[in-house]
């Protein structure tokens, strides 16, 4: 049997807008991936524990509230603490340009803003998945 890419699409923090996250989840499903959707208002701890139990290859974080510098970095740091460096972390939502380099330095592999074609996200994941 072929290995399937498993992705956790998660909404950290307090904003309640998940249309973007659902569109991405649907697109990844249609690209043949198994997508676990967390639902709203997740803590970094919940996201990391879910990633461990579901043994995902990718964590996709969506955030529109402005707390990405804290919450995205928390998730990446906690994944590292749990020896989960082989999980690809990507982000999306309303992320100002000037924050992107710092997020990448922290370990977020890519940031997809509004208007990104979903195919770009699919391609990026397929190309960069680490295991």
């Amino acid at each position: 049997m072929v290995k399937k890419i498993r992705v956790l699409v998660a909404k950290p923090g307090l904003d309640g807008h998940d249309r973007g996250a659902k569109i991405v989840a649907r697109a990844l499903r249609d690209a043949g991936m198994e997508v676990i959707y967390s639902g709203l208002h997740q803590t970094a701890n919940q996201i990391v524990n879910t990633a461990i139990q579901e043994d995902v290859d990718v964590v996709g974080l969506s955030l529109l509230s402005g707390a990405h510098m804290t919450l995205f970095v928390d998730v990446v740091t906690m994944l590292k603490e749990k020896q989960m460096e082989d999980v690809l972390v990507v982000g999306g939502g309303i992320i100002p340009e000037e924050d992107v380099p710092r997020l990448k330095k922290a370990g977020v592999a890519a940031v997809f803003g509004p208007g990104t074609p979903v195919d770009d996200i699919v391609c990026f994941i397929k190309k960069n998945v680490k295991r």
């Binding site: 249609d30 139990q53 020896q83």
Partner: protein
Amino acid sequence: MNDLASRVVNGDHRAIGRLITMVENDEPDAINAMKEIHSHAGNAQIIGVTGVMGGGKSSLIFELALAYRAEGKKVGIIAIDPTSPFSGGALLGDRIRMMDLSTDSGVFIRSMGTRGMIGGLTSSLYDVVEILDAAGMNIILIETVGVGQDEVDIVKIADTTLVIVVPGLGDAVQTIKAGLMEIADVFVVNKADQPGVEQTVAELESMLDLATHIERRTPIVATSAKEKKGIPLLVRKIAEHQEYAKKNKVFDVRRRQRYEAELIEIIKKRLMNFIFDEAKLKRKVDCCIDQISKKELDPYTAADEILGIMLK
């Protein structure tokens, strides 16, 4: 014992997650670990939860898990959702109703796609149950995909099967049909906060009245996961069924059936791999298919020829 297997038996969540992925992907390394953990499994109580889609299975499982956690039991949850027959992908969304459990180290939740299996289950489910059992879970809750009338395979795995019905899905004739309605060890009428509960319960009761030879009348419990009602009673009815099953050998019979189904599944899988992967046989199979489509050979004779080569 191999490292992964011993970590699983010690309840390491990372190792449990990894081994489940390996069995789902049919990785050869998984087999050694599965061989080693077998003797550690067999203690968990396995509860199947099935019923129509949107019936509140996930929310009910969340409430049951909380109740078992309050008793100090470790809980494993397997939530199955359908795999797309077109893309092979899946959107696994049962966890949304259970996220409050994801920081509890006494709970392990895994979402699975059906990956082409019919019957509301997935082919690696036997292995996944065995892994969670060996990892020390006292209770394993299995949520099937939302089912229609005929997806009843859960009984091949569960010690106790809950069939969830909700008010307003049809008249009394639905309840005397065969299939899903026959497999319940406990009926759960969920969404009891909505109108029509009494009627649904009454229809189920009258269905049970029609049975002519029963040793045990299936209990009916009305619950509302939303309003957290009826959960303690449901937990008690599940425990009573366990007691009944153990006293009447039903438990032993079901466990035996589960191992039989699992063994047949493994043999089938290996035979199929042998027929379709072994270079010589694969050529023969392809050649037979060509001949069948040209009407030079019929499928039965072709099957005889292929089996003949295998048994030589």
